[in-house]
Amino acid sequence: MRFETPRFKQAAVVALHDERLRTALARSRVGFIGHREAAVEALPEFEQLRDTAAQIKDHVLDHLDYYLQRYEQAVVAAGGKVHWAHSDEEAQRIIVDICRAADAKVITKGKSMVSEEIGLNDALIAAGYEVVETDLGEYIIQLAKEPPSHIVGPALHKTREQVTALFAEHHGRARKETVAELVTEAREMLRDKFFRADVGITGGNFLIAETGTSVIVTNEGNGDLTQTLPRVHIVTSGIERVLPSLDDLPVFLRLLARSATGQDTETYTTLSTGPRRAGDPDGPEEYHVVLVDNGRSQMLGSRFRKMLRCIRCGACMNHCPVYGSVGGHAYGWVYPGPMGAVLTPIYQGLKDSYDLPNACTLNGRCQSVCPVKIPLPEMLRELRHLQHVERMGPRLQRHALAVWRFVASQPWLYRIAEKLATTTLARLGGPKRRVHKLPFAEGWTQSRDLPAPAGSTFLSQVPRSKRA
């Protein structure tokens, strides 16, 4: 996937003027926030589950090498194979090689953010394969040749009207106006692909070390057809998605469904362990797992370790006012919203991703809804710290901060500065006491008035008897 983050500011402004995007975002925001809230209210132990999940994740991260080895042993014991990919390119190569060995032509895919992260579709298409996304949202954006704008609802930025036009153009059938008709048509188009697919690639929401099981949750059942019908099933997953045992799974399934879509449980939760065994009614002949590092083990040893708790539910972006304003594409890479604002600079560099940690009000709602309690604002601030130390960002801003910092550390100077500010602003405000244009802070006055001060500071008005 192309990396467009350096153009965040421009992309954000374009997005803000896109009325259809605004409609789509407003609709989804109301749904996501409301549904999650209702689901959480109906589960009194939700807060406890968050604590438990964070503890389990931290335990796994403390012993990640151990659990990954156990997982590999269990996969092998079940007749599967584990491949270790250090980088995105290595992961692409491994998967292309598996497809080649299987003499594949058609490849179906379930929704997987890791596959977006490693740029898998482009690599497979370049190697000559027909690749079909089977998740409805992914299918839509594949037709539109767009990246996902949300990690759970990849086509969330599209309105129904846009999908109608897209299907009519690509399917060559009569225009379908209702959601039900559109879904039916997509199913019909996908059915043939499911039957013809040689390889099915899915993500892995969770990997179970004890049993070598990969777990996916979907609402459309497309994941099941992707992983049971073809001869070869490939699971792609980040190395951090492993859980110790099946006993740990329910904690995460309960949190994930409620946090992501406000459901008590997703419609399909599918556990697969190895290839088809004698007597199994269905299943693949080969079962591969590609475990992707791609920077994760470095994160493990850094101050951003807790980010590896992430279970990709999307709650942070659903509750983020910035994401809700500009949508996912403005973020310019695979992961948008607060979790993306942490991950993108780590993966793609602090300088090129300068805006992401900064384009945040630090309101903290993301952290308050995160099912695994990742301190996202703290991490964004930590990234700002690294940028500050490296002297990144607009020079004027850095100098203004340095001057302000010096003045604020000298109370006598600060008194003079605030007196100057107070009288100047009072004069600029005039009788209406509103400043329309502010030198040095036009960002404020381009769309807002500044309520002007009355003329003297509070400290200068404090009665002598109360001063200290």
Partner: protein, 260 residues
């Protein structure tokens, strides 16, 4: 009866320059709640702008200044969830490498309070002679809400104000788009967020917006003024102190009241 606690009033930067009336309201309410109040006049800023810009060294300089000025009081109280959360939550984190300062930061953090929650939770303040004529909606400022748990306290106290009707927004907990320097660095995004907030405010039918942080309130008031929307904006403490009879933030001087 125990001795009256000594409170150091933390005069936030925005209050000091833009809204002295809020300072007087804060003083009045703290005294009403039985405190002996002092205002250290050498105070400057809690350091949050530096902290949120990633300048942790600069923050430490300012934090030490605040600790020195306020550690002698029983409490340090200010009319801002944002500044007080910086002192209460962030200061102790800053001094991992300076154990002595860490101890002092923790001691100050433990007695640092946002004004409205302090009045109710610590002092159990009751109001009986305050009135405000209007229908208001309350914006939950993010730092106060999520870091300090300020949610019910302003509503409980405002319920004691005669004539004041409170109507809740659909989502009072969503950010207003201020975000400190965010609103200047990313003005277009900030404007969209505050427009969404204003739309939610409008849907309540309230004529007044109240809140606990001047940053958010100036953002809301400034956008409303630019858009020509008639909206009165006050810090909740001004209403609780009976000192909201003058113009609100960004409101015109109507020649009455004593604001400023």
């Amino acid at each position: 009866m125990t001795e009256a606690p000594r409170v150091g009033l933390f005069a936030t930067c925005l209050m000091n320059v833009f809204r002295p009336n809020l300072g007087h309201a804060t003083l009045h309410l703290l005294e009403l709640a039985g405190c002996v109040v002092e205002v250290p006049t050498a105070q400057t800023c809690c350091g949050q702008p530096a902290y949120n810009s990633g300048d942790f060294d600069g923050t430490r300089v300012l934090a030490k200044q605040v600790i020195r000025q306020f550690e002698r009081y029983d409490y340090v109280v200010g009319p801002s969830g944002s500044c007080m959360a910086t002192i209460r939550k962030d200061y102790p984190r800053l001094f991992d490498d300076e154990p002595d300062w860490r101890r002092r930061a923790e001691a100050l953090a433990a007695k640092a309070h946002e004004l409205i929650s302090f009045l109710l939770d610590v002092r159990g303040l009751k109001l009986d002679d305050v009135a405000f004529d209007g229908t208001a909606t309350y914006h939950d400022s993010c730092s106060g809400l999520r870091e300090l748990g300020v949610k019910q306290q302003p509503r409980e106290l405002l319920a004691m104000v005669r004539g004041l009707q409170l109507k809740e927004m659909r989502d009072p907990e969503v950010c207003c788009g201020f975000g400190g320097t965010f609103c200047v660095k990313y003005p277009e995004i900030s404007t969209r967020i505050v427009d969404d907030k204003l739309a939610d405010i409008a849907s309540t039918g309230a004529d007044t917006v109240l809140g606990g942080d001047l940053g958010c309130l100036m953002n809301i008031a400034g956008r409303a003024a630019r858009e020509g929307k008639a909206l009165r904006v006050f810090h909740a403490a001004e209403v609780l102190a009976g000192m909201a009879d003058g113009p609100g933030l960004g409101g015109e001087d109507a020649g009455k009241g004593k604001a400023g």
